[in-house]
């Protein structure tokens, strides 16, 4: 099939059976790939009420039609499953070179099913596909294992590996690849660990067909040219995502000490400029990327190498835990990567524990003698280890901030910064209503990448609660995630500002099917509604209450910084939701109306 690997690989870990099926043409037509394939298989094949860490859950790993080809940024891989962190939908996007390799092995998706009786890794060398004993790797760090595998099989193989935290099923365990790229959020690593799959190793040497070779080469080259000609290329490549750190601090969007403020007095120490000067050794890109955001660093203080830290990690494991030293942030990043936990959730939940400690809710007895105060880098390192091992306080934090705060009570829920159980990523939203709404309604929980609306807030007036903002969030939620569906990166559009219409002839030349952005966004809307239905199917009480932000944002304004005293009134939070539901064609409890589903052509088989 043009633009596709052509097969879905099913791996039944319980029986050890592996089986290839042709990728259905109508699936590719209606859901395109990536997250589209993910939600389709999740709804269809994972039974209602499945235990996220049980044999019925599936881990669905998909490339998209733009992956691995002559496409600027065609290196994104989607990991979908039922989320152990939230009990709802998880879809984590991973950069690097894995998705391209899958495709060149002739695969569009891998579906991991069941649970293996013993630790294994999945080995794919084109058509040679085997489950192999992983006992020599089990218990080891993710990058240690990746290095062992690269040494054993060679550079042509790409590896996705879980760390000890994935093995221990920490609810926000992630999957590591290419020494620093992750499928980060929702606990996808815990699902892989529950299945006892330590790693997936893949090499593909096949050619991928496209519909119109000449048109494709022309359109592909045009996209690269636009990126290379873009004004912002140099600056963006120099700093990557850390380019926003100083801006966030200036506008009061940099999460500081558990989101209690939006500017940090020690921010200079963690600015992108500081980082570039002090620790970066090389730029590191995903497959096909002309504007590599990856910054690979070496710390002097810890004598260590790590990819990053990128902005989200700086926000969460820097200012949000009160750390003003980029080397310490980098070291915390490295520990998270090696242990296999998501830096965003880790920084968020540790910050919550620090606030509990400073308020006297936790004592040294609870922390095992650790002085768990904001700014204590050694305490952060130790907590990462304790979370990984589920040791002492780490066992509580390993369940994520929602469950931890519910267990502790005493008002700590009010400063547990999450939506739907997913820890909020690095934008402070006391006074940025579009971004707040984006977090509230994001399909996996409080994650930024579906609708990065913070710049729009600043542009149109941050405290405004107007329909235009809601419409903007909805449009972004349809448009941006389509890059995850197509298997490519969105940052060329976001950061370099290249014309998105350049993708239209390219996608057509690859797949042979003409689609406008309007057509593509329609698929995005269908997927968005399907994920909503998934949440409702899995959670009997799902509805409006699940979309509420952390109370801190509507009742506990910052006491310092540029957003001092600012917050969003509860009535405005509700007003945002009312407008959002109405514009989406959802009822007042936030569930899609039957006529909305009908309009979107959602197949009955998926929602029954």
């Amino acid at each position: 099939m043009n633009g596709y690997g052509g097969h879905i690989l099913r791996v039944n870990l319980t029986t050890g059976q592996v089986k290839k099926e042709p990728t259905p043409a109508d699936l590719a037509r209606d859901y395109l790939g990536g997250r589209g394939f993910g939600i389709y298989f999740l709804l269809k094949e994972v039974p209602k009420g499945a235990d996220p860490l049980g044999p019925e859950n599936k881990l669905i790993i998909s490339s998209g039609p733009l992956s691995g080809l002559l496409v600027a940024g065609g290196g994104k891989c989607d990991w979908t499953c039922k989320a152990p962190l939230t009990g709802g939908y998880a879809s984590a996007s991973m950069g690097g070179h894995f998705t391209a390799e899958l495709k060149y092995a002739g695969l569009d998706s891998i579906i991991l099913e069941g649970i293996s009786p013993k630790p294994v890794y999945l080995f794919i060398d084109d058509d040679k596909i085997e489950l192999r004993d992983a006992s020599e790797y089990w218990g080891k760090g993710s990058m240690t294992v990746e290095k062992m595998m690269k040494d054993k099989f060679g550079e042509e193989f790409q590896c996705a590996v879980i760390g000890p935290a994935g093995e221990n099923m920490v609810s926000f365990a992630h999957i590591n690849h290419d020494f620093g790229r992750q499928a980060g959020r929702g606990g996808v690593g815990a699902v892989m660990g529950s299945k006892k799959v330590k790693a997936i190793v893949v090499r593909g040497t096949k050619s991928v067909p496209v519909a119109d070779l000449e048109a494709y080469r022309k359109a592909g080259m045009a996209l690269y040219k636009a990126c290379k000609d873009a004004e912002g290329l140099k600056e963006w490549t120099r700093y990557g995502t850390t380019i926003v750190t100083s801006w966030c601090n200036e506008v009061g969007a940099l999460p500081t000490r558990n989101f209690s403020a939006g500017s940090f007095e020690g921010a200079q120490g963690i600015y992108g400029q500081t980082m570039r000067e002090k620790i970066v050794v090389t730029d590191k890109g995903c497959f096909g990327c002309p504007c590599p955001c990856g910054k690979y660093s070496k710390t002097k203080k810890y004598n260590s190498y790590v990819e990053g830290p990128e902005y989200e990690t700086i926000g969460l494991l820097g200012s949000n835990v009160g750390i003003d030293d980029i080397e310490a942030v980098a070291q915390a990043n490295l520990l998270c990567d090696e242990m296999g936990i998501d830096t965003i959730s880790a920084g968020n939940v540790i910050a919550w524990a620090m606030e509990c400690y400073e308020k006297g809710i936790f004592t040294k007895q609870d922390t095992g003698g650790i002085e768990l105060k904001f700014g204590n880098a050694d305490a952060v390192f130790k907590m990462i280890e304790m979370i990984t091992k589920k040791e002492g306080l780490g066992a509580l934090l390993a369940d994520g901030v929602k469950k931890a705060s519910q267990e502790i009570g005493k008002g700590t829920e009010k400063f547990a910064i999450h939506v739907k159980g997913m820890e909020q990523s690095a934008y402070q939203t006391h006074n940025a209503t579009a971004m707040l709404l984006a977090y509230m309604t994001c399909d996996v929980g409080a994650h930024h990448n579906r609708a990065w609306a913070i710049t729009y807030d600043i542009q149109v007036g941050r405290e405004k609660v107007v329909p235009e903002k809601v419409a903007r969030v909805i449009w972004l939620q349809h448009f941006r995630p389509m890059f995850d569906v197509l298997g490519a990166c969105r940052l060329q559009w976001v950061e370099l500002g290249i014309d998105r219409d350049l993708y239209v002839p390219l996608l057509e030349a690859i797949t042979g099917i003409h689609r406008t952005w309007e057509d593509i966004e329609k698929v995005g809307e269908r997927i968005w509604n399907l994920t909503r239905l998934y949440w409702a199917r899995e959670n009997a009480d799902f509805g409006r209450a699940w979309d509420m932000p952390a109370p801190r944002f509507y009742e506990d304004p910052p006491k310092t910084g540029v957003t001092k005293g600012q917050y969003t009134k509860l009535e405005d939070v509700n007003k945002l939701l009312d407008m959002y539901y109405e514009q989406r064609g959802w009822d007042s409890n936030g569930l899609p109306k039957p006529e909305t589903l009908q309009k979107l052509g959602i197949p009955q088989e998926l929602v029954a």
């Binding site: 691995g68 080809l69 600027a72 070179h97 096909g288 002309p290 590599p292 070496k298 190498y305």
Partner: protein, 135 residues
């Protein structure tokens, strides 16, 4: 003409290798590219890029004279004349002369077409005269 590289600028994206396989074979298949990106991770965290210098050592040993020179002085493989003997492979000082019978029924090498240069976002690659000093 030949290809030049500054490895310290490379970010390992492999866009060049896709462009190359399209140029040389008309296929999407970076395993059939004529330049090599070697990542060295986790330490010291560098990419080493190997490209053809158009030195002609491969052509000198080819028993069927399948490796020819174009008007710009770049050597290319005339696919129909290659018998996969592999004599050229060990001659290449840069290790960028390829024979992989499982992938192609001919040897292949860089033709200095410049397509990789066109997609390299970090300007790690450029074309220049053979004698030119690295820019």
């Amino acid at each position: 003409m030949r290809l030049y590289v500054d490895s310290s600028r490379c970010s390992g994206c492999n866009a060049c290798r896709v462009a190359c396989s399209l140029s040389v074979f008309g296929e999407n298949n970076p395993k059939k590219a004529s330049l090599v990106i070697e990542p060295h991770f986790p330490a010291p965290g560098v990419y080493k890029v190997r490209v053809c210098t158009q030195c002609g050592d491969c052509a000198a040993v080819c028993p069927t004279e399948a490796i020819k020179q174009d008007a710009q002085g770049a050597y290319y493989v005339e696919f129909s004349e290659c018998n996969l003997c592999e004599a050229c492979v060990p001659e290449c000082p840069e290790e960028v002369m390829f024979v992989r019978p499982e992938l192609a029924d001919t040897a292949w090498k860089c033709t200095a077409c410049g397509d990789c240069v066109a997609v390299c976002g970090t300007s790690a690659l450029w074309l220049g005269e053979k004698e030119a000093v690295a820019a």
